[in-house]
């Protein structure tokens, strides 16, 4: 079954290539004092485009005024509801407000490609000027996006690119996380927490989803390339995120002296792994990606969780809205825009929440921090 995998892999947009120096994007992050190891890869666009930082998307006062005059409309076509989606939406909404663009429809596909196609068809009844969206499946939803683009709607993509889409013709820009840096930050944080040596378990996302696949690969590449005294003793593919606890129990049974665990994303697999660590009384350090209350609470209490690597979700939404204005103004937009990664530890938990989700940590986390 390699051929279909290849088909989807090609369609799945962005690939990690080559060995390169740290991008300028990484330098924009404000991370705690965790030593940064050598960067062994970089995030490139679907056609090998160089990453442009979100800060490069700028609108002059005259351009803002011109957009405002148009009384344009926007549709938000998302993949699921989550803290991440809420922060992206908040970033987009605030920026659209400054641009005088009205959001006329919001949809959530719950990772169902059929529903997303229906959602796109439905919002097109309102003829939105721009559409901000994360395509759930680059193949299955391509025809609906194509119809929207042909109807004149300016599409700004989050992370995924529909099959056969050409930048500048079918979409304005694709905005995403600096995926390689996210995986690398996780590797650096875990290595730092365990003193650059010991046995580590690697829980990766066992699905053909390029966002998690790239982050996981970046973690693996960084650990194996930069930390010779760290051994990956167990690799667990997470196909059903709700079964992570069972998998972690088995790993801990086989490796009682585990120093650290990497888990591909926080909710629910890292929460499940954390539960297993607690029930087994393990002292192993855990690093995962994407902010999540139970993990942040454990970190605030000085538990197993040593770091959470997150993206700047609010910034992603704001950048998408600015890119949409580029489309309206017919201004040449960068093809591939990335938001920086942030490593969040107990030391910068409050600032990390603010940077990533543009809000305070939940009350439970604040209480644990004594704030």
């Amino acid at each position: 079954m390699k051929a279909p995998r290849k088909v989807a892999a090609v369609a799945a947009a962005i690939v990690i290539v080559g060995v390169a120096a740290t991008t300028s994007v990484a330098s924009l992050t404000a991370n705690p004092p965790i030593p940064s190891s050598k960067t062994l890869g970089t995030t490139h666009g679907p056609a090998g485009e160089k990453a442009t930082p979100t800060s490069a998307l700028k609108l002059s006062a005259a351009e803002v005024a011109k957009v405002k005059k148009g009384h344009y409309t926007a549709a938000l076509v998302w993949h699921q509801t989550s803290d991440f989606e809420a922060a992206v939406t908040a970033g987009a909404r605030d920026t659209f407000k400054q641009l005088g663009i009205k959001i006329v429809a919001t949809t959530i596909a719950n990772f169902d490609a059929g529903k997303q196609k229906s959602d796109i068809e439905t919002v097109m009844a309102k003829k939105p000027t721009v559409m901000l969206t994360l395509p759930v499946d680059p193949v299955a939803t391509a025809s609906a996006y194509k119809a929207a683009a042909q109807a004149g709607t300016k599409i700004v993509l989050l992370s995924n690119v529909p099959k056969g889409f050409v930048q500048g013709k079918d979409y304005v820009s694709v905005v995403t996380d600096d995926l390689f840096q996210m995986g690398k930050h996780a590797a650096d944080a875990l290595a730092f927490a365990i003193g650059d040596k010991g046995d580590v378990a690697y829980f990766f996302h066992d699905a053909n989803y390029y966002v998690t696949n790239q982050r996981d690969q970046a973690f693996l590449k960084t650990i194996q390339g930069n930390f010779k005294n760290i051994t990956i003793v167990d690799k667990q593919g997470i196909a059903d995120p709700n079964k992570a606890t069972d998998q972690a129990n088995a790993v801990l049974l086989k490796n009682p002296n585990l120093s650290g665990i990497y888990v591909t994303f926080s909710q629910p697999p890292a929460e499940g792994v954390l539960a297993a660590l607690k029930s087994n009384g393990s002292k192993a350090k855990l690093v995962s990606l994407d902010l999540d209350e139970p993990l942040a609470l454990d970190m605030a209490r000085g538990g197993n969780v040593t770091a959470i690597v997150a993206d700047k979700a609010y910034e992603l939404g704001a950048s998408m809205a600015r890119a949409a204005a580029y489309g309206i103004l017919k201004k040449k937009a960068p093809a591939f825009v990335v938001a920086p990664a942030i490593t969040i530890t107990k030391a910068n938990l409050v600032q990390g929440y603010q940077q990533s989700l543009h809000r305070k940590p939940p009350a439970s986390v604040m209480a644990a921090l004594g704030k």
């Binding site: 079954m1 279909p4 919001t106 169902d112 059929g114 529903k115 680059p138 196909a239």
Partner: protein, 337 residues
């Protein structure tokens, strides 16, 4: 007025009063719950048509979109009406959708359209027969059998392409099964109409339909009257599996691709559509046309609530409230029953 004339008139008015009384009696016997779904459909349609008159809701394109979007749900709902009416359940239909679409897309790519369609439908036939075998021969509850099959088939769907999507590049297939149209009529609307018409005829006007209802109403009584209950149960599960597979083919045609998650979230909307349409969850009665209208209500709600500009959470809350109201009216048992 002469006496005979007055008598005649008195007689006529007597007959008229009898007729009115008879009509009223008949009306009293009619269960209003059977018609709530149609009233609800009209109310929702009228509400959205007025509220969203400037938002493209009533455009022919949008109304056709609603029908196209709900066709796979409608097709699955027709099959499940038979299963529920026979007092059984089929939880595996969502997984069958995914596997049939993938098997059809892969076979289509390598062996052409006819074999692709047959292979896709074969998945549903196979699933239906296995469900039927375990439910009747081994006498296991269909709830548990089809729950196990749901997991088994979902696993197969993930394994068959290692979670990758398969593109459908056969244009003729895509046109017939979802993307094309005959004149101004989309092919999905035709599929919907054909499946509902055949389902309605089979359910209401054949001996098989009567046997399905009798089996669901009282299995023992049905057996005593000579109905081959096991055969009926195998047949309804076979029908449900086959129609779920057809829904998978329609998804593959509409999306021009197949993935392991297609249809995964369709089970609850299908059950909701059927139940709103007046089919009892525990057998003995059902309505194919009601299921169609229930399915259209679900589609209309999705569509209208998005066009109203509600947030995602607002849409979910509104949908929940409306569905709760609808089933409260359609499913509430009369006092003393």
């Amino acid at each position: 007025m002469s006496a005979p004339e007055a008598e005649h008139q008195a007689g006529t008015s007597h007959v008229g009063a009898d007729r009115i009384r008879s009509v009223l009696t008949r009306l009293r016997r009619v269960d209003p719950r059977l018609y709530v779904v149609y009233v609800a459909f009209l109310l929702i349609l009228v509400f959205f048509s007025i509220y969203l008159r400037d938002d493209g809701f009533t455009s022919s394109q949008n109304l056709l979109n609603i029908v196209k979007q709900t066709t796979p749900i409608t097709v699955m709902a027709v099959g499940l009406v038979f299963v529920l009416s026979a007092g059984e359940i089929d939880l595996s239909i969502g997984s069958v959708v995914a596997l049939s679409s993938l098997v059809a897309a892969l076979t289509l790519r390598d062996h052409g359209m006819v074999l692709g369609i047959l292979a896709g439908l074969g998945v549903g036939v196979g699933a239906g027969l296995i469900n039927g075998f375990f439910t009747t021969v081994l006498r296991l509850p269909s709830f548990l059998v089809t729950l196990a099959m749901l997991g088994l088939i979902a696993g197969l769907a993930r394994w068959v392409t290692d979670l990758a999507s398969v593109a459908v590049v056969n244009e003729r297939y895509a046109n017939v099964f979802g993307s094309g149209s005959v004149g101004p009529v989309p092919s999905l609307l035709i599929w919907s109409a054909v499946v509902v018409a055949l389902g309605w005829f089979l359910f209401r006007h054949t001996r098989f339909g009567a046997h399905v209802v009798a089996t669901g109403d009282n299995t023992d009584a049905a057996r005593v009257t000579g109905i081959r209950v096991a055969r009926v149960k195998i047949a309804v599960l076979l029908l449900s599996g086959t129609l779920a597979a057809l829904a998978g083919l329609l998804y593959a045609g509409r999306l021009q691709s197949a993935t392991s998650t297609l249809g995964e979230q369709d089970l609850l909307p299908v059950i909701a559509a059927i139940v709103i349409g007046g089919t009892r969850l525990f057998g003995g009665t059902g309505s194919v046309v009601g299921a169609l209208v229930g399915s259209l209500i679900m589609g209309m709600l999705n569509n209208g609530l998005i066009l109203m500009g509600l947030s995602a959470s607002g849409q979910m809350i509104a949908q929940g409230v409306i569905l709760l109201t609808a089933i409260s009216v359609t499913l509430r048992e009369p006092r003393g029953s």
